[in-house]
């Protein structure tokens, strides 16, 4: 399969690989996928409680190049956004940016799912209601 240059770039130089303290009140964690399916993504956001902006984002992904690239791109996009803005990220934006072929659209769906799961985890810690995905 031919990968786009952007997928190769994110795969070769993944942005924001790492871990945030998942116990911290201002950190939200989203773990999605399953090993049997060949994709597991963990995406984390750290929110500045004064400004309401996402000041850091980290990921770790077990999956194909497109899955790694989708989550790497997601962390780039998350930084500097408000939580509400982050909620608006759509998987098709990721598909477009990375030029994912149809068989890899599920990677972008998984990334969107990881973002929303992380945001809801953060909201729960803040005593806010979960948002519908």
């Amino acid at each position: 399969m031919a990968y786009s240059d952007k997928v190769i770039d994110h795969y070769s130089n993944p942005r924001n690989v790492g871990v945030l303290d998942k116990e911290a009140k201002n950190v939200g964690t989203g773990l999605v996928g399953a090993p049997e399916c060949g994709d597991v993504m963990r995406l984390q956001i750290q929110v500045n409680e004064e400004t309401g902006l996402i000041e850091d984002a980290k990921f770790k992904t077990f999956g194909c190049g497109s899955a790694i690239a989708s989550s790497s791109l997601a962390t780039e996009w998350l930084k500097g956004k408000t939580v509400d803005e982050a909620m608006q990220i759509d998987n098709m934006d990721i598909v477009e940016e990375l030029a994912l072929p149809p068989v890899k659209i599920h990677c972008s769906v998984l990334a969107e799912d990881a973002i929303k799961t992380a945001i809801n985890d953060y909201r729960r810690k803040q005593g806010l209601a979960e948002l519908h995905k």
Partner: protein, 425 residues
């Protein structure tokens, strides 16, 4: 000049040459898929494309006689490598055709005797799909499951035999994991029960000694391009004595190849096949020693990584193959990471629904381990420098992906992955 000085200068030149030789990437380590043609084979073939272009079946002029003579020599060379007689060699387009001819041909020829065939779930698709074909036509097939190392026992075969059994077809060496079955014993068991024995020996012939007499083989498929010969030519060995075996032709026409396979002979291909058999005959012993030493080094080095496992029986194995699973990395991601070496993956994930190798699944491997496997196939032209490069390249890729893998992190933190509630999507 003093002979020692000469030798020293020679060695010095050799070392210098090696130093200056740039390593060309990607490095080819997929010799189970196909092999590069040996230059000696190509040289032997060339005149038969244009100068000696005759049809080996033309009886009335020297063009035909020259071609026929070349085919005769090749047939002798092919036969000699497997201890057969030249008349027992039926040239085909390759091992897939040979498998089809053997299985469908026996099924049709021996219909009056029975309709049952015994095979194994880890066979090549050419065998499995030929078996599926005869099932559609009233045949009955038993698919034996190997143990976790890919081995079949004689008892399994014995228990599967019925009065209707006409054929046992079990491969010599497996294409994905290199496992060698106990072919002489299986052949003997078949002979004792008056059942024909076919083996797909595509990966074994030319790599290890294969002897149709000692191994009690009645029919055997093999191919030139797996042993440094050209693509598009192979053979089916069909025993002529004790017992005399016949197969129904699957290709009708001019009655070539004793009526079992019609079609104008691929003279240049057959000449190349003959040459590659001759070279294998002379060089196999040395070559397999060299390759197994290289393979063992590659394997040893890669197994120094945690959670890396060899698939298949490590004792009964072809000398040039190893298949290794790297836990906690995903197969397609791994393939992308090892782009500077050409290897095969146990993962055939070209679509959203991942399909791990059916051979590895047959050994009972979990999907994730089957997905994250790599098959390394060394060959005649593989060098130590290339193995060094491959070791380094694979280690780097696996380590990098594990650093990125949440599963690896959980494993290192002592979390049992089976206890995690996954969000399947």
């Amino acid at each position: 000049m003093n002979i020692y000085l000469k030798a020293l200068l020679y060695l010095h030149d050799r070392i210098d040459l090696n130093k200056n030789r740039m390593l060309q990437t990607p490095i080819y380590l997929d010799n189970n898929a196909t092999t590069p043609m040996d230059p000696r084979v190509l040289e032997e073939m060339l005149p038969y494309f244009n100068r000696s272009f005759g049809n080996a079946a033309s009886r009335n002029h020297s063009f035909g006689w020259t071609a026929e003579e070349a085919v005769d020599i090749a047939r002798e060379r092919v036969a000699k490598l497997i201890n057969a007689s030249p008349k027992e060699i039926i040239f085909t387009s390759g091992a897939t055709e040979s498998d089809n001819l053997a299985i469908k041909g026996v099924f049709e020829m021996y219909a009056a005797k029975g309709n049952h065939v015994i095979t194994v779930t880890t066979e090549h698709k050419a065998v499995l799909d030929s078996c599926k074909h005869i099932e559609k036509n009233g045949g009955r097939v038993t698919y034996l499951s190997p143990d976790s190392q890919g081995m079949i026992t004689l008892d399994q075969i014995r228990e599967a035999i019925t009065p209707e059994t006409i054929l046992i077809t079990i491969m010599y060496g497996n294409n994905e994991i290199g496992v060698l079955q106990d072919i002489p014993a299986i052949g003997k068991l078949a002979r004792e029960n008056n059942i024909l024995f076919h083996t797909d020996a595509t990966q074994a012939v030319g790599k290890i000694p294969v002897d149709v007499e000692a191994d009690h083989i009645d029919l055997m498929s093999f191919s030139a391009h797996k042993m440094y010969g050209p693509k598009g030519v192979g053979a089916l060995y069909v025993r002529r004595r004790n017992p005399r075996v016949k197969v129904t032709a699957q290709m009708d026409g001019g009655g070539h190849e004793r009526g079992m396979r019609s079609g104008t002979l691929n003279v240049p291909g057959i000449v190349g096949f003959g040459k590659s058999c001759e070279i294998a005959m002379n060089e196999m012993a040395e070559e397999s020693k060299k390759l197994s030493a290289m393979r063992d080094r590659l394997e040893r080095e890669l197994l120094t990584m945690e959670e890396a496992y060899v698939n298949g029986n490590p004792e009964h194995r072809l000398p040039h193959v190893t298949n290794i699973s790297f836990k906690f990395v995903e197969g397609e991601g791994l393939m992308m990471g090892v782009k500077d070496i050409a290897v095969s993956s146990g993962s055939a994930c070209t679509s959203a629904s991942l399909e791990p190798s059916y051979v590895l699944k047959s050994l009972g491997l979990d999907d994730d381990l089957a997905h994250s496997s790599l098959r390394f196939g060394l060959g005649r032209f593989t060098t130590d420098e290339e193995i060094d490069f491959a070791i380094d390249h694979v280690k780097t890729a696996v380590n990098k992906l594990r650093e990125m893998s949440p599963l690896w992190e959980m494993f290192k933190d002592g979390i049992d992955l089976k206890s995690v509630e996954w969000q399947e999507h």
